[in-house]
Amino acid sequence: MSDDAEKNDSAERKDAAAAAKPGEATTAAQPATAAALEAGGQNVPPGPAGRTPLEVVDVRQGMFGVHGSGDTSGYGGLVVPVAMPGPSERPYGGWFDEVVDVLTEVLDASGTGFANAVESVVVDREELTLHVARQHVVEVARALRDDPDLRFELSLGVSGVHYPHETGRELHAVYHVVSVTHGRRLRFEVAVPEGDPHVPSTTAVYPTNDWHERETYDFFGIVFDGHPGLARIEMPDDWVGHPQRKDYPLGGIPVEYKGATVPPPDQRRSYS
């Protein structure tokens, strides 16, 4: 069966399924109104005392991941904001302040300026994250590696995260570094828009990031400019699309077992 025929066929089946459930359209779940959405968006739980409000990256609706299912329980109208931990205020605690101070000194001395290079400092769950502007990522990495008081000489690679709802900052590249000398570890994070997914490559500073950047490119489509050979690494060379993006389907087929059909994992009911 050709692809087109299969699509038509499944469309027909869906129509048939809809026709078999008369009245579904009229008893659809309570839609979330614009007002409810706005109210829900403001309903951000306050962070612990002394911390700035959280950073909302998404507003989740409903509860079961299924919409228009005739759910009259009221959960369909649920609006929950999704917030990542926002920027932290000084003092960050422990050695975090010292590292940020030294980094400030190094970046200010070089003329880049800490404020230009580091967008925010997040301390969460006793871990330090520096959000770095993409044009300065190589300089920040070099400062972290080379300054004797920082000495983050070991890179544990790059991983990507896709936040499709964070408009203008959809794709994140997260770098994990370790200072064997001082026994410290931190991460720095670069966010770029989907439409312009370019980040300077850090392979000149951390050669180990070679394969990790290839992997992040392969799975997320973040283009690391200046990488010595930015080819796909896990997927075949002629693969289309970047599989770990949120809009890329997981795939899979329904499985029939003893008369019942189990849908593929990404089409099952989920309690998002």
């Binding site: 769950r125 995260v161 180990t208 070679d210 896990e234 060379d237 289309v240 997981l250 998002s272």
Partner: protein, 452 residues
């Protein structure tokens, strides 16, 4: 090529590289090497690229090595991976936090308990319950991880020996590993892919008599490891193949992010168990063996020494378990802890009859709770963490992102095998083709972990 629209994801077709048309190529799949060499000489072609793998017995799975050779000398070596990519990280985004363990245990299948432990520690850090995990659960985790470290090193030594033609090393190594797999089966119910360590603790307590069984097995394992030492360490053939082969110095290791025995073979005693302790490793008494030669032989010696250190830790863990006595192996928080009480029934391991009697017979609320926690799972506050553990092959990192939901928003595993394979080029170039096998074996890559 398929005619699909360019945006639709599709399986790969045959790659037709236009640039290579017109260049004389000769393909060989088996056969007599001298014939191939003669043909190459007749064509006047000096550049020979040999494709080793992905189906080659010395590549520990499906690693593809592209070697450019000049006679017997490797002038350029490149590793090609991806043949075992199964999208485990993507799959984990569609399962609950607890189900994630079942997936990540299948990454590096020779050392499954390390992925489980790292993942669970990361989930616990996200939940903020790291300190609530019962001590007994942490001790059991340490016990299982150290046994797993021994079994993983044994596989490395066994297959490494086998690749040199030393079949006895292989049989001795795998026989010793069998002792450990029996312990795993006794404790977790499975020889591999255990899904034994769970967010909040472990799936079930160790069965009665397990402590004595492990003690008895340790004696036997010690005998097998002594045998391996006798077979390998002073063996002139073994030493001729291994000494000064696959050299990588400290500067190279740091630049390439190489950790584990390969890094320690250059003299740096970097071990996550000491540098950033987890599961209470700071309270155990053990040494981090190092050497300074940085070659394949030294790595064999280090792995054997690490087996002894792991046995020291196992003995301490057993003493602690005996002293602790019975107790919880899962956090007390019923919103996180798996509700089922496992027991062995007539048809094998499953929910205990008492638990079924309670949820089906007496408590509606317990049934609802069980159902909700098993189908929906628990919610994890939004944020991200990075947790590392000392894997037999190096530093294993888990980058977990939660959006506050019941499933991981993103789970990334920084697998040491993946990273360490980058050293293949620097280790092999300029050496002999036969040394490639030794160098790759000394890195001990497991392709399930590399490709995930």
């Amino acid at each position: 090529m398929s005619t699909d629209a360019p945006t639709t994801p599709h399986a790969t077709g045959h790659i037709v590289d236009d640039e290579t048309t017109g260049v004389p190529t000769f393909e060989a799949s088996g056969g007599d090497w001298s014939q191939i060499a003669e043909e190459a000489a007749r064509l006047g072609e000096e550049r020979i690229v040999v494709n080793m793998g992905p189906q080659h017995p010395s590549t520990h799975g499906v690693l593809r090595l592209m070697l450019e050779i000049d006679g017997e000398t490797v002038t350029e070596a490149r590793a090609g991976i991806g043949y075992l990519h199964t999208g485990i990280e993507k799959n984990m985004e569609f399962r609950t936090w607890t189900q994630g363990v079942t997936f990540c245990t299948r990454m590096d299948y020779v050392a499954p308990l390390f992925q489980e432990a790292a993942y669970c520690l990361a989930v616990e850090k996200l939940l903020g319950i790291t300190d609530d995990v019962p001590e007994r659960a942490s001790v059991i985790r340490v016990l299982m991880m150290e046994l797993n470290r021994i079994s993983s090193h044994l596989v490395c030594l066994a297959t490494g020996g086998n690749e040199l033609g030393a079949t006895t090393v292989m049989t001795a190594g795998f026989t010793a590993r069998e002792e450990i797999l029996k312990i795993f089966e006794l404790i977790s119910g499975l020889r591999m892919n255990h899904a034994y360590i769970r967010p909040g603790g472990v799936a079930q307590d160790i069965p009665p008599g397990a402590i004595d069984t492990v003690r008895e097995a340790l004696v036997q394992i010690r005998v097998y490891i002594r045998q391996l030492e006798d077979l390998m360490l002073a063996n002139p053939i073994f030493k001729a193949r291994m000494v000064d082969v696959g050299y990588l110095g400290l500067a190279g290791c740091m630049a390439l992010g190489i950790t584990g025995p390969v890094l320690r073979s250059t003299g740096l005693p970097y071990d996550v168990r000491k540098a950033a302790p987890y599961c209470g490793y700071e309270t155990y008494d053990f040494d981090v063996p190092t050497a300074t030669d940085g070659d394949a032989y030294t790595r064999v010696v280090l792995r054997l020494e690490e087996c002894y250190q792991s046995m020291r830790i196992v003995e301490q863990a057993l003493d602690r378990l005996q002293k602790l006595g019975p107790g919880p192996v899962m956090v007390a928080d019923k919103k996180v802890a798996w509700p089922a009480q496992l027991a062995i029934g007539a048809d094998g391991m499953g929910n205990s009859l008492d638990h079924i009697k309670e949820i089906m017979g007496t408590s509606m609320e317990a049934l609802i709770h069980h159902f909700k926690l098993v189908t929906e799972g628990f919610r994890v506050p939004a944020g991200q963490v990075f947790q590392t553990v000392e894997h037999p092959r190096g530093e294993l990192g888990v980058h977990l992102v939660s959006d506050g939901g019941t499933r991981p928003y993103r789970a990334h595993f920084r697998d040491p095998s993946f990273n360490n394979l980058q050293a293949v080029s620097i280790m092999c170039e300029g050496g002999q083709v036969a040394d490639v096998v030794v160098s790759v074996a000394s890195l001990d890559p497991v392709l399930g972990g590399v490709d995930r």
